[in-house]
């Protein structure tokens, strides 16, 4: 049968998007609904006898768990410190790269290096550099007189999460650099020239011209990275497995613990639902603050 052209295009359009649509439906939409469903049911990975409607029982399990509240607080700290650190480093490096200096292409490439290293490799390398025995960071700190004794950065409850945050900032800030650099290049040069003629200093120009121009892209960057950092499992698991004594256990680690160490899928789903609500809140906040930068690009 030979179809007319509009009908043919309609059929083709359906055929072209159907596989992608099916994949998203089966592996994203349905699992997402299943998380919500499981949070109200008893589900156990090793004991199929444990089944059926649970009501709010799983929610009670999680809220009564004395590890839950500290994990929330840690997730907030981990996210806030990471994103602030990444943004500051990203902004400073982007401002430097935006100057027309010789060799900037090479510097730009070098500054992207951390981003291509697998998280496992970044985590392992920094773990080695941070070890108390033979670790180069402690050696340098002692040699420069900043520290008198080697410190077990990842092995002590006070510093473990901070050390992982530091490594996360190292690996993630290049994303900000590249995005902010792209943003900086859209600022019209005439504005700076006009401001300079009007007698505005470098700081004034930065404050009144550069920063407002970066507002949209900054908001998007910060919101997206708040989500990506809060839900990141890899860094913490690779470097500390949430330890020592749960001192670096955040919500994604808790999901893993509940599901694959305690086999309590119901409780794991509850934590995932909380994370989903948090994300929805952030996205709503972003939308309330203005249209996304993607539309501006």
């Amino acid at each position: 049968m030979r179809l007319e052209r509009p009908a043919r295009i309609r059929r083709n359009s359906l055929l072209f998007v159907a596989p992608a649509g099916a994949l998203v439906l089966l592996l994203v939409a349905l699992p997402l609904l299943r998380v919500i469903w499981d949070s109200f049911h008893f589900v156990n990975l090793v004991n199929p006898e444990q089944a059926g409607w649970a009501g709010l029982e799983n929610y009670r399990t999680v809220l009564d768990d004395e590890e839950f509240a500290p994990a929330v607080v840690r997730t907030v700290w981990w996210t806030a410190l990471s994103v602030v650190g990444e943004y500051l480093l990203g902004l400073v490096s982007a401002l430097a790269l935006a100057r027309k200096v010789r060799g900037r292409a090479v510097f730009r490439a070098i500054l992207t290096v951390p981003w291509i290293v697998p998280i496992v490799v970044a985590g392992l390398t920094w773990t080695w550099m941070l070890t108390p025995d033979y670790g180069v960071v402690n050696a340098w700190l002692q040699a420069s007189g900043i520290a008198r004794h080697p410190h077990h950065w990842l092995g002590q409850t006070e510093t473990a999460l901070l050390a992982v945050t530091f490594v996360n900032v190292w690996r993630s800030f290049p994303f900000y650099t590249i995005s902010l650099l792209a943003g900086l290049q859209t600022v019209p040069r005439e504005l700076y020239e006009a401001a300079a003629i009007d007698g505005a200093g470098a700081l004034g120009r930065f404050w009144h011209i550069t920063l407002p121009h970066l507002r949209g892209i900054s908001l998007t960057l910060v919101v997206m990275h708040c989500i990506w950092t809060a839900i990141n499992f890899d860094f913490i698991w690779v470097m500390t497995e949430g330890g020592p004594l749960n001192a670096s256990q955040t919500l994604p680690v808790l999901v893993y613990r509940y599901a694959l160490q305690q086999f309590d899928v119901g409780a794991a789903s509850v934590v995932a639902v909380f994370m989903m609500l948090f994300m929805a809140g952030l996205v709503a906040l972003r939308l309330a603050l203005g249209r996304p930068a993607r539309a501006e690009a």
Partner: protein, 281 residues
Amino acid sequence: MVERPSSRRLTAVLTYAVLLGFAAYCLVPFLWMVDTAIKPTPEIRSTHPTFLIEHPTLAHFARVIFDTSFLVFFRNSLIVALGSTVATMILAVFAAYAMSRWGRYPAVRAVGGALLISQMIPGVLLLVPLYMLMLDLGLLSSYAALIITYTTFMLPICVFLLKSFFDTIPLELEDAAEIDGCSRLGIIFRVVLPLSLPGLVTTWTFAFIGAWNEFMFGYVLVNTDARRTLTPGILLFKGLYATDWGSLMAAAVLAVLPVAVLFLYLQRFLIKGLASGAVKG
């Protein structure tokens, strides 16, 4: 810029100082990794570590390659990364073409919206249901589990990247081909794809780096050494060879090698793609 020469020189010096500082910050861990990998163990266990190596050695590399499952993990990573990127590209080319050319059709719009939303849904939220799905399907510890999962999570990014490349190809070229009797598939394979070759390469590279570096699903969905990929494999080495940092760093160097080579060749395209903000960190 309207600046006095003296202040211009000052800012140039300042800019270089900042850039050199950042370059050191980014490269030192990388260099230290390589340095440790080719240092003999007695020199690694020094209380005054330096970059200088008195007796460089490849013993750690030999140990990793010949005495561990490294090559099996490496092969698995290669199979999974290639399999998932090829699947992703095939699905993404058609979806992106439809979104670029027929964006007003309801089915296309619906799938486009679904992809946009699913791009924002982090994998860890779906970790448990996907684990149970693979368990039900009997796919745990198989290549298929990882290939299907990676394809799903990379698809949105790749579709949007490809769409932005397809958007730049003039419609007139397609119209001419259609008048000459070319079928829709013919148009895509003979006109659109050849013209967007740089776009295809960029998109594929992003997907490959993403699949190669992925850790969580590889760690959770695979439980046998025969199917384990490199990133969870390296974490396993960390448990097995706890203080043999030379061998661990040698494994790390070998694991970074493929993405480092890709990056060196394609960094201009990749940075441009990164700047378009379409890629997760």
